[in-house]
Amino acid sequence: MAAIYSLFIINKSGGLIFYKDYGSAGRMDTNDSLRLASLWHSMHAISQQLSPTTGCSGIELLQADTFDLHCFQSLTGTKIFVVCEPSTLHMEGLLKVIYELYTDYVLKNPFYEMEMPIRCELFDVNLSQAIQKDRVPLLGR
């Protein structure tokens, strides 16, 4: 049902702290992913300036020809965004689940330094499980 291509987590200053690729065609090297994350951070901020009414909190969904991009921004400014197939359902739910995993396995980890790249094994393991649950129907293709 859900085909997720990649996942990014950006800290509040726009730096990339986590990037996982689940099957895009063509490799993207580290520098490119860093640039894209910062670019997204800026675009997210600029979109708030163009709002016709007050209270805009930035782009939540971007729809392109070949993919959709869902973004979740926490109250602290950490952004989690996922690139997936067009018209994939339940991505907002998935993003909130990923945010919960982030708070449990990364923020509560006493050895994790704030705003630094995430290197927590438990987070990776649980994240894979959360994503795999959605991707199981895909294996039949």
Partner: protein, 177 residues
């Protein structure tokens, strides 16, 4: 077909919208704003029907809008998961090149974009729960072709000042649900 060249009006500022609450009122007029840009970033048209918040002055706002769309296109071309060969970020893209987005939404508005092969961009800002606006955008582009491009007095690349175009556009936008 009667044509009224709008040059006699000589308005520099964006044409003022009908006062809110007239005609069908807010409930019938779903659109907030409309921008039309050409491929060099000149804002050919800016119409607003319902915009309580102006963060920047008109010039800055239009430049920011164009800049945002330009950069977002670079972004979507690079992040596209289905293309194997990704160009470099920041290279100016031709209108049909690379993956382009057609809409994004935030919690307060939805932006829908149509880019023609000649680089003319039509941008419509509406309520966030609006559906797919690609067909209405194509219709608006057709209105532009009929009343502006086919107008012999219109100079390509300059802001649009055609009365008939504005009237028809307003009429059409009022019918959008």
């Amino acid at each position: 077909m009667q044509f009224f060249g709008g040059s006699a009006a000589a308005e520099i500022a964006p044409s003022p919208a009908a006062p809110p609450g007239t005609a069908t009122g807010l409930a019938g007029n779903n659109a907030n704003m409309l921008y039309i840009f050409n491929r060099s970033g000149v804002c050919l048209l800016y119409r607003e029907w319902h915009r309580p918040l102006h963060t920047l002055d008109a010039q800055q706002d239009q430049k920011l809008m164009f800049g945002l769309l330009f950069s977002l296109r670079s972004f979507t071309t690079k992040i596209d998961p289905t293309s194997v060969d990704k160009g470099n970020l920041g290279v100016p893209l031709l209108p049909g090149q690379g993956c382009s987005f057609y809409s994004f939404h935030t919690n307060t508005y939805k932006l829908s974009l149509l880019e023609s092969p000649s680089g003319v961009k039509v941008i419509l800002i509406t309520h966030p729960k609006t559906g797919d606006m690609r067909e209405p955008l194509r219709y608006i582009y057709n209105i532009y072709v009929e009343y502006v491009v086919k107008n012999p007095l219109y100079v390509n690349g300059t802001p649009i000042k055609c009365e008939l175009f504005n009237t028809n556009l307003d009429q059409y936008v009022k019918t959008l649900i």
